[in-house]
Amino acid sequence: MGDNIVTGHYSETHRAAATPIVIVGHVDHGKSSLIGRLLYDTDSLQDGKLAQIVESSRKRGLAVEWSFLLDSLQIERDQGVTVDSTRIPFRLGSREFVIVDAPGHRQFLRNMITGAADAEAAVLVVDAKEGAQEQTRRHAMLLRLIGIRHVIVLLNKSDLLEFDEAKIVKVESDVRQLLGRLEIEVEAVVPASARDGDNIASRSERSLWYKGPTLVEALANVPPPASRAALPFRMPVQDVYRFDGVRYVAGRIERGTVRAGDRLAIGAQGQVATVAEVCRWHAPELPVAGAGESIALRLEPDLVPDRGDLLFPADDKAGAPERSARIRTRLFWLRGEPLRVGESFTLRLTTAEHDVTVASIDAVVDLEDLTLREGDSVPPDGFAEITLAASHAVLFDPFAPGFGDGRGVLVDRYQRIVGGAPLIGPAELADGEHAIHPTASRVSAARQVQTRGHKSGVFWLTGLPGSGKSTVARAAELALSEQAINATVLDGDTLRAGLCSDLGFSPEDRRENIRRAAHVAKILAESGQVVIVALVSPLEADRAQARQIVGENFHEVFVDTPLETCEKRDPKGLYAAARSGKIPEFTGVSAPYEAPVSPELRLAADRPEHDAVNTLTAFILRIVQP
C-alpha cells in the first residue's frame, strides 16, 4: 500500500450518489412489509437475513413478519411498531437507492422527519380499503414542507378490494385530490399488495386493467436531483482556520460555482473580497468549485468572516439573496406544548444563527381538511404559517422543494430542535403596525443552572381569598432562601399596588391582572429565578392562559381551603364586607371560584399551616434542584 503524493485514480465512469427514497404513510398501512417485499423481490437481501427474520417471527408466534427486517430494536419487534427511521441500500439495475423506513406513529413524528428530510422521492403508502387517514394527511403535509418533489402513491392491500377497477379509481381520485390541495404532483398511483407482491416488482395478474407503472418501474423513473450549479453562488461560512500562517474560510457550497478571481460579498455587512485560491487537500488542482463541495477559500484582502456569514456574488444585484428582519415562514412544530406568539428562539439557517421572536401566527393548518384557519397557537405536531421577527436583517433564499435554500430550523434555549421553518419570503409590516423586535437572552438555561445552582420554575398558587396563599408563599420563600435558592413572590395585593393599579375586579380586569402576572413570572423564570405566584385566579380559562404564557415551567398549586374556613379567618375583613354588599363580585361570595381539576400539588387545609409550607417547599425543591 502506498501513501504517496499522487492522488489515486478517479473512475472514468461516473457513479451517481444513491437516491434516497422514503416510505411514509399511516400506521399499519404496510410500510415495513412493503420494504421487505421490495428487497426480497429484487434479490437485495444478504444471506442469512431471511432465516433470521423467520426465526425472530417464529419466536413471537408470527408468520413471516417482513417488518423485522427493519425494526431492529427490541421494542420495535416486541410491540410491532417502527420507532425510528432505518436506511437500507438497494439497487435497481445500475442505479443505487437508499430506502428509508419512517415510523408512521404520530408519537415518532420527529423520527419520520429525520428519515425523510433528505429524500429525493417518497412512496406514500395508503391502505386501499381505509383510504387516507390522519397520519396520511400529516405525512403528505410534511412531504411538502420538507421539500420532497416526487411522490408515488402505493394503494396497498388492494386485494381487499379484489383489485376492482371502479373501487380503486375512487380511492385514487380521493388521494389525488388530497395531494392536489397540497400542490404535490403525484408521479404514479399504483394499486398493489405488498404481502402478495402484486405490482411491486412484477405486474399483477389481478389488475389487468391497470396500465401504469409497477412500483419498481415508478422508482426507476424518479429523475436524478436537479443541478444547483447554474444558480447564483452561495456559501455560508462554516468556520475560519489559520494553519501555518494561512487563513482559510471553510464551508460547503450550497449552490452555484466559485472561481479564483470572483468578487464575493460577505454577509449582511456586505464587505467585498476576491477569491485568491480555491483550496483542497489531496485532490485534483482546480481553480473552481461547485454546489455540494466542501472547500476552503483564501480571500484577498485577507478578511475574517464570522461563522454563518453568507458569501455571494458581489456584482450580481439580481442574484442577491433576500434581506429582511421580518420573515414569513411555514412551520412544522415538534414541541410537546403549543407555540404562541411572543416566544423566542434561535433560527438556524445553514451555519447561521439568528435570535428571532414569533411576531404573529398568520394561519394554522386544519389537518381534517388541510385548510388554513385563523388561530392563536400551533398545536404539537401541527402546521402553520407564521412571521418571525429578528433583531437584525437576515440574508436568505426562499425555500423551494428539492433545493437546500431557506431551510430554517427553530431551536429553543435547551438547544433542542423544536420546529422546521421553511422560509417563504420577507414579511411586510401592515399599516399602523408597530415593528417590535424582542430580544432573547444569550445565556443558556444550562449556564443559568450552573451559576445559580438550581433550575427555575413558576409555582402558581390559586385558592379562595383568605385561603392562605400569600402566607404560605412568603414562608416558602424564606425556607427556600435558607437552602440558597432565590425565590420571588408575586402576590395579588402587591401587584395591584403597583404594576396593576389601573385594574379593578371585573372579569376582564382580573384576566388582565393574571396575564401581566404570568408575563412577569415568565421573564423572571427565564432569568433563572424561582417564582411563586399567589393569586386568587378563580377561572380555569385564565389559569390555562397563564400556563400557556409561562410554558413548560408552569406548576399549578391549589391551596384548598374550604370557604367556611376562609370566611372564618377573614384576615382582611373582606368576606364580611362582601356579605354586607360593600364589595361586588367577590370570589366565593358573589363571583365564582373554579377549583383546579388536576393541580400538580394540592395543599389541604385540614393540616397545620407549617405542614403546607413544608409540602410546598419540598415540592419546589424537587423540581428546581438539579
Partner: protein, 298 residues
Amino acid sequence: MTQTPILSRDQSSTPGAAASQAPSLAPSLAQPRIMDDLDQLEAQSIFILREAYRKLKPLSLLWSLGKDSNVMVWLARKAFMGRVPFPVMHVDTEKKFPEMYAFRDEYTKKWDLDLLLGYCPPVEEIDPSLPPAARSAARKTAGLAAMIEKHKLRGVIAGIRRDEQATRAKERVFSPRGAGHRWDVRNQPPEFWDQYATPYEDGMHIRVHPLLSWREIDIWRYIERENIPLVDLYFAKDGKRYRSLGDQDITSPIESNASTVAEVIAELETSRTSERAGRAMDHESEDVFERLRVAGYL
C-alpha cells in the same frame, strides 16, 4: 511506502507561495467537476467533521486502526488542509493483532497525530450477564468511558456505518449521550437539514458519526481512489483475510483470495454475507448488540 508531506501539493501551488502573489482578477473559465458518489460522501463527511470541530470542545477521534477509522483520519486531513487539529484516541484492549500496533506507531508519526492512549479494564470487571464475546467487547465501552471522563470530552468522533448493523442504522450523525454515556434509543433528537444536536447539560457528550452514510464498498473504493494505507490483515494470505478487525480472540478471518484493494472490491461486489459475520458477539443473541450500544458501545 513514501513519506507524505502535510500538504500534498506541488510547491508552486502551496497556499504560502500563492499568498505572496497578487490574485489574478480574471475569472477562470474552468467548470466544476461533476461530483460522483464518493465525492458527495466525502463532502458530507468533511462538513460533519468541521461542524464537530467548531461546536464540540474538547473533541477527539476514535482511531481503532481499522479501515474505517483510517478513512476517517484521512477525511479529517481533507477537512483541515492536511492536518488533524484534535487528538486521536486509541482505546487499547491489549488483545489486538501485533500488525495493528506496528501500524499505529508508524502512522502516528507519518500523519503527525496527537495520540491519546487508553486501556480497558479486565473482563472480570464487566457485566457477567452478557454472553462471553459480548462481555469481552464491552471492555472497550468501559475503556472509552474512562477516557471520556479523563479528558472531559464533549465530542467523540466514531467510524460506525449504518450498513454494518441494524441498530447502527437507527443512529444520528450527532448522537447525544446522557449521564453514564447511555444511548437513549427511544428518544433520539430530530436531525434534519444538516442541523445537529449539541449538548446542553453537564456530563453529556456527543458521538459524531461522519461515516454513517458510507457502505463497506464505498470505504474500499475510497481507499483505492485516495491510496489510503491499511493494516495487511485485510488482504488474503493462505486463502484467508480479515473483513473486519476486532480483538484477536473474538474476530475470525473469512475465506478469500483477495490480496489487493481492487480484488477486495471485486469480491464485495458479489458477496452476499454481512461484514460482521466474523464478529462472534453479533451472533450470541438477538438483542445483544442493542444492549451493548445502549450502554455506550460504538
